[in-house]
Symmetry: D2
Subunit: 408 residues, 4 copies
C-alpha cells in the first residue's frame, strides 16, 4: 500500500497546475465578458480556442484516453488527479484539454467499438478538437435510469436505419460545433431486456433532426458546455454503416461508457470542492464582519475543517476506485464506482454551499464561480442515475455478503 502519486502523475500535475494558473483562471472573466458581448447565447467565445491551442502546445491534450494509439495512455489512477485539477475550472479547463464530457465518453466509445470508417470520420476530428459530439440516451417521458424504458425506435429499412423518438439532456448539442449525435434506441423490443437496444451515429444535419430547445439547470443554460438539448428525431435515416458495434449491443456499450464517465465526474467534483474550499478560505481571511475576519469565527472554522475532512475522504475513495478499475476492471470496481457516485456529488454540494454562505449574496451571483459549481454538483446527484438507485443497488450487493441468517 502506497499513497504517493507516481512520477509521471506528479510531473503532469505540476504542468497542469501551471497552465491553470497562467491561463485558465485568468480566462474565466474573459470568457464571461465574451459571452455577455455575443448576441447569440450559444456562441462559443474565442478565448476557448486560445486555451485549446496553448494546452496542446504544452502536451496537455487528450489525457483522458487510455488507448495509446489516440491519447496519453494514462491509467485511470494517473488520470484521476489531473481530472481533479480540471474540475477547479469546470467550465473551461476540461474542454481546453479536450477532456470534456460528453466527448470523452464518445471518443472512448468510438475508439473501442467504432468501425475504422467511423473512427476516421468522427474520432479523428474529435481528437483534434475540431468538432464536438453529443450522446442521446435520456428521454423525457420515462425513468432512464432503467434502460429498458427507452422508447426511441431504430428500425432497419434496407440499407438504412430509421430513427424516431425524442431525447433530452443531450449535453453539448446546443454547441454549433457539435457535429454528430450518438443515439440509443430500440432495434428489437422483443429481445432480452439488455439486447433490445442499439446505437447509431446521426450527423447533426440529417433531415428529421430538430434541436428543440436548451434545458436549463437552475437557470443556467450551461452554454459553456454546449448546453443540454431536447431533440426530436422524426424519420431520421442513416446508412446501416452508422451502427456502432452490433445490433442489440447498445446496452453493453452504454454500460462500458458509463463507468469511466462516472469516475471522471467524481474526479472533477473533488476539484470543484477544492476550488470552493480555497475561495472559502480566502473570503474568510479577507472579509471582516462585526469587527473581525470571518476566519476567526468558530462556525466558519468548522466549515473549513469539515470541508477538508470530507474532501480528503472522497478523493481517496475516487483514487482507490480508479486503481480498482485499472487492476480488476470496471466490473470488479462496480461497487466502488457506485460508492463514489453517491458520495462525491453530495460532498461537493456541501462544501460549495458553505463557501456560498461565506460570500453572502455574492456567493449566489455571477461574481464568484460558486453558484454555478453548486448547480453542477447538485445535478450530479441525479445525472447518470439518481443516488437512490445507486444506493439500492449497492445495498443489495452488501446484503448478499451476509446472506446466512445468524443471531446477533
Amino acid at each position: 500500500m502506497d499513497f504517493a502519486y507516481d512520477s509521471r502523475t506528479e510531473h503532469l500535475r505540476a504542468e497542469l497546475t501551471a497552465f491553470l494558473e497562467q491561463h485558465v483562471y485568468p480566462a474565466e472573466a474573459v470568457h464571461a465578458a465574451q459571452v455577455a458581448e455575443a448576441g447569440d447565447p450559444w456562441a462559443r467565445p474565442p478565448v476557448m480556442a486560445e486555451l485549446k491551442a496553448e494546452a496542446r502546445k504544452r502536451g496537455l491534450w487528450n489525457l483522458f484516453l487510455p488507448d495509446r494509439r489516440y491519447g496519453a495512455g494514462l491509467t485511470n489512477l494517473q488520470y484521476a488527479p489531473l481530472a481533479e485539477l480540471t474540475g477547479r475550472s469546470p467550465h473551461l479547463a476540461p474542454e481546453a484539454l479536450n477532456c470534456a464530457a460528453p466527448d470523452t465518453g464518445n471518443m472512448e466509445l468510438l475508439a473501442e467499438f467504432g468501425s475504422e470508417r467511423q473512427r476516421e470520420r468522427w474520432l479523428g476530428p474529435l481528437l483534434e478538437g475540431e468538432i464536438r459530439s453529443a450522446f442521446c440516451m435520456t428521454e423525457p417521458e420515462v425513468a432512464s435510469s432503467d434502460a429498458t424504458n427507452i422508447a426511441t425506435r431504430i428500425v432497419r429499412d434496407g440499407d438504412h436505419y430509421v430513427v424516431n423518438g425524442r431525447k433530452w439532456w443531450s449535453s453539448g448539442a446546443m454547441d454549433p460545433h457539435c457535429a454528430v449525435f450518438i443515439v440509443m434506441g430500440k432495434t428489437d423490443p422483443d429481445a432480452d431486456r439488455h439486447r433490445q437496444q442499439s446505437m447509431v451515429l446521426v450527423p447533426r444535419d440529417t433531415p428529421g433532426v430538430s434541436v428543440r430547445r436548451g434545458m436549463r439547470v437552475f437557470g443556467y443554460s450551461d452554454a459553456s458546455h454546449g448546453g443540454h438539448a431536447e431533440i426530436d428525431f422524426s424519420d431520421v435515416r442513416v446508412p446501416v454503416e452508422n451502427l456502432v458495434g452490433e445490433e442489440g449491443g447498445g446496452f453493453a456499450i452504454a454500460q462500458a461508457r458509463l463507468g469511466p464517465g462516472r469516475i471522471h465526474h467524481c474526479m472533477r467534483l473533488v476539484g470543484m470542492a477544492e476550488r470552493a474550499l480555497e475561495l472559502l478560505c480566502r473570503r474568510a481571511s479577507d472579509r471582516v464582519a462585526f469587527g473581525r475576519p470571518l476566519a476567526e469565527q468558530g462556525v466558519v472554522r468548522e466549515w473549513i475543517a469539515e470541508s477538508r475532512v470530507r474532501i480528503e475522504q472522497a478523493r481517496l475513495l475516487v483514487l482507490k476506485t480508479a486503481w480498482l478499475m485499472d487492476t480488476v476492471g470496471n466490473k470488479g470496481a462496480h461497487t466502488e464506482i457506485q460508492a463514489i457516485k453517491i458520495a462525491t456529488p453530495a460532498m461537493a454540494e456541501w462544501v460549495i454551499d458553505k463557501a456560498i454562505q461565506a460570500y453572502g449574496a455574492a456567493g449566489v451571483s455571477q461574481d464568484t464561480p460558486l453558484a454555478a459549481l453548486w448547480a453542477g454538483a447538485r445535478t450530479l446527484r441525479l445525472a447518470d442515475g439518481p443516488d437512490e438507485v445507486h444506493r439500492a443497488s449497492l445495498a443489495k450487493r452488501e446484503l448478499r455478503r451476509w446472506h446466512t441468517p445468524t443471531p446477533a
Copy 2:
C-alpha cells in the same frame, strides 16, 4: 390557546385559493412563454396586468397592509396564512395581489414614516400598483448585516441632499416600472452607531443614478421580481423634502421595516414548501421506476413524511411569531422573528430538494417551478442577514436567561 384560524382568515383563504387555482397556476406557463417571446429580458409580460386586475376585482389587494387607511387592516396573524398561499406561486401571486417585496416594506415605511407629500406622490401609485419601488441598502464592499458598515454618503447641500455610493441587490430596480428608490446612507458618520444613517427618496430618473447590471441568483435573473440591480449614485441631488423621517433616523426605520419583511418571507417560504410537497406527491404517484410508482418506495415516503413534519412545525412557529408581533410588538417578538428566519428557509430548501430529486433532471430544469423555488429558498438563508448572524444573536439572548453559574 386555540389553533383555529378566525372566520375572516378562513374566508380570505378560500377566496385566495380559488384565485390561485383559477388564475395564477394557469398563468405560470403563459408568463414563461411571454417572457421567452419578449426581446427585452426585463420586460414585464402582459399576463401580470390581467392577474392584478382580477385580484383587485376579487378584493384580494394590499392584504399585507395593517393600516386600515391604506390596506386590508389585517393583523399579522390573519395575513400570515394568506402570504403563505401566495408563496405557492412566488413569482406571480405576490405581485398580482400587490403584496410583493420590496414594495410591501416600502409602502409600510411610507405609510408610517413618510410625509404627507411623500405619501401622495409615491404611496398612492404604489397602492394602486401603478409603479414599483426599490430599497437600496446592501453594498458590495461591506458586510451589510452590520449596518454601521454602510459607506454611501448623503450630504446636505443647501436645500438638497447629495448622494454618493454604490448599492447592489436592490431588488425590483430592473423593472421598467420601478419609479423610486429608497436609499440608505450616512448623513453623520461621527454620530452614535445607530444615528449615523438616513434615508432619502430618489426618483429613478434623477441625474447621477446609473443602474449598472442585474445580479443573478443561481443563473436566474429574477426578472419576474424586477431583478436585483447594482446601482451607482454619483452626485445625485434630491430636494431635502425627500428625506424620510428625520436625519439620523435611518437605522431605526430600517429596523422597523425588517421585522415584517422577514416574517413575510417566512410565510411565503411555508407556501413554497407546500407547493413542492404537492409536486413531490404528484410525481411520486405518477412516475414509475423499476416496475412500481415512486410512491411505493420507502425512501420517497420518508421524504414525504419528513417534509410534512417539518412544514407543520415551521408554520406553527411563523404563526406564533405573527401572534407575538400583534400582541407584544415587533421588539417583543425579536427572538421568534430570528427563529423563523433561521428555521424556515432551511426547511423549505430541504423539502424542495427532495421534490427536485423525485423529478430527476426535470426538477433542475425550467419544466417545473422547483429549481427556481429552491434558488429563492437558498438565497433566504443569506438575505436579510445570514443564518449565522441570527443564530449568534439568538444564542446570546438565550445565554442571558441562565446567567447564574450553577452546577449541573
Copy 3:
C-alpha cells in the same frame, strides 16, 4: 388563533415549577445516593415517597387523568405544558405526581374499559400511588409494531383464562410495588386481523408468572422507572372476570391507550430538551477553554440557537396535537400524533447530544443527567413504533391527498 396558555394552566405551571425547584431537582442527588447505598438494584429509594406526599399535598396529583371522577379533569392542551415540566426530571417528577408511564396509560385504560370490580381492586390503589402496574404487549420474537404478530395465547378454560407466552420491555415490572400486569394476547387467532386480541389482568403473584430479567437501555437498568422486564407466562390462570372489556377488544383498547401515551412521551421530551438546553447554557457560561468561556465560541452559540429553534417548533406541534385531540378526537389527530412521535425524540436527542458535547467526559457520565436523558430520547425513536413505521404511514395519508395525477 391564540398562543397563550389559559389561566388554570398558567397557575398549575407556576405551582409545578415551584415544586420542581424546591423539591425535585434537589432530590436528584439524594435519589442517586440512596440507590447507590441500597444493596438491591431494584429497591425504590425512600425519597420518592417523600416527593409523592409533597406533590399530593400541593394538589399536583393525577394531573394526567381527564376523567374528573378520578383525576384533575384537564384537557390534553392543559396537561401538555405540565407534562413538559415533569420531563425536566423524568426519572423523578412523573412518578412523584403519579403521572408516570405505564401507570398513566393503565389507569386511563381501567377508567375507560375496566369493570367496576376491576376499578375498585386496581384503579383505586393506582390512583393513590400505593401500587404500580405494567403493560405487557411487546414480545421478543416478533415485530410488535405490527400487532397481528403477537404470539401470546389467552385461552378460555371454563371460568378461567389460561395465558401462555413471553413478553419483554414490560416497563415498571421490576419494581417490587408493581402488583398487576395488563397482558395482551390472542384469544382467537382465526378472527379478523384486529379482533384476535384480548387483554387480561394478571396479578403479579399468580402461579406461572416468572419475571426473568431486566432489560438494559444502553448501560442503564432504568430502575427508577421500575426497569423493563422480560416475563414468562406459563399456564397462568386468571378468572374470566379479569378480562378487560370484551373478547377481541384488545387491539381497539391498545389503540385507545397509545395516542395519549405517545403525546405524553412527546410532552416530556420537550421538557427533557429544555433541561438539556439549560444545562448547556450554564456550562457554556461557566466553562473556560483556551482562554474564554465556551459561551463565546461560535460553534457553541450555534448549538444553543439551533436548540432553541428546534424546541420551539416541536413544542408548538405537540400543543397543536393536544388541541386536536381535544377538539376532533384521537382519530382526527392521528397524523399529528405520528408527526410528533417522529419529530420530538429526534429533536430531543439532537439537543441533548450538544449539551453532552459541551460537558465533555462529564456529559457521558453519571455526574450530569444528560447521558440518561439521551438514552431515554434515543429509545423513543424506537418505542411505540419506530420512526420508519410512522413515517411510512404518515406518507401514505399525505399521498392520498394528491391522488389525481396532474402534470407539474
Copy 4:
C-alpha cells in the same frame, strides 16, 4: 499509488480473522455470563486469560508495538487493518492480543522514554500481559484539551517527588491487575507553557493513592476495559527515579503518546462500524415486518449503502494517515490525525445508530453488542480532545495555506 495490503498484513489479517471467529466472538456471551455471575463488578472474567493464552500461542501478541525489541515491529500501515479487526469485538479482542488502550500507549511510552530500570520493572510485565497500567492525565475541574490547565502538582522533595491532585477518566485503573499509574502533573508552573509538566510512575499501592469511584459511560461501567477511575493523589511520595524522561518533558511525551493513541482508536472504530454493518445486514435479512424482510425496505437499504460508503472513506483516510506517520512522521501527519479523529467516531456513531434502529428495542439492550459499541463511538467524539478543538485547529492550518488575500 497502490491500494493493496502487503503480504505480511494479509497473512496476519487471515490469522486474526480466524482467531476472532473461532475464539473471540464465541467468548462474548461467555464473558457476559461470567461478569453476571461474579459478585464483584470489577472482577475480570476467567475467559480473558484463555483468550490471551490462545492469541499468544498463535503469534497474535503485542502487534501494536513498532519497536522490534519488544513487539511485532509492524509499521502503522501494517498494524492498522489488524487494529481494525480487533475493533469488531472491542471489549475482548484488543486485550486478548495485549493491544488494549491505555496499555499500548503506556508501553510505547516506556519503550521510548523509560529508563532501563523502569522498563524492567514495568514494561516487562506489561508486555507479558501480567499487569495492566493507567494513564492519569485528565482532571475534573479543568478543560484538559488544553494541557496548560493541569492542576496536579509534582514537587521534588529530596530524593522523592510528592504528588498532589485529582485525576479522573483514568481508564483501566478499576482493574485489580492495574499495577501502575503514569501521572502527569506540573513540576514548574513558572516555566514555558509546554515545559511545566512532568510524568512520574506511581505504583497503585503507594500510600496517598485513593481510587474514589468508577466513572460511567451512558450507564456502562466499562469494567471489561478496567473502567475509568477517579483517583485522589494526596501527598503521594515516589522516588526520583520514577520520573519518566526529564523534568519539564511531560508535555512532549504526552504529545508523542497521543498520535498513535488516536489512530489506534480510529482503526478500531472502523472495525466497530463494520461489525455494526454486518449485524444490520443480518437483521435486515432475518427480520420480517409488515409482510417482508427489512432488507426489502428502501429506507433500510439506504442505511446499508450509506454505511458502506462512509466506512470505505473513513478507512482509506485512516490508512493514508498511518502511511504518512510511517513516511513523514507523526508531526507530518498531524492534520490527517486530526482529520480521522474528527471523521471516524462520527462515522461509526452513524452506522451503529442505524443498526440499533433495525434491531428495535433489542438494539438498545444487552442482547446485541450495538448499544455498547455506540457508547464507545460517541465517547470518542470527546475523548482525546473534542471534535470542536480538532476542527478549529485543522481549520487554522488550512487557512494558512491561502493566506494571500485575493479576489474570488
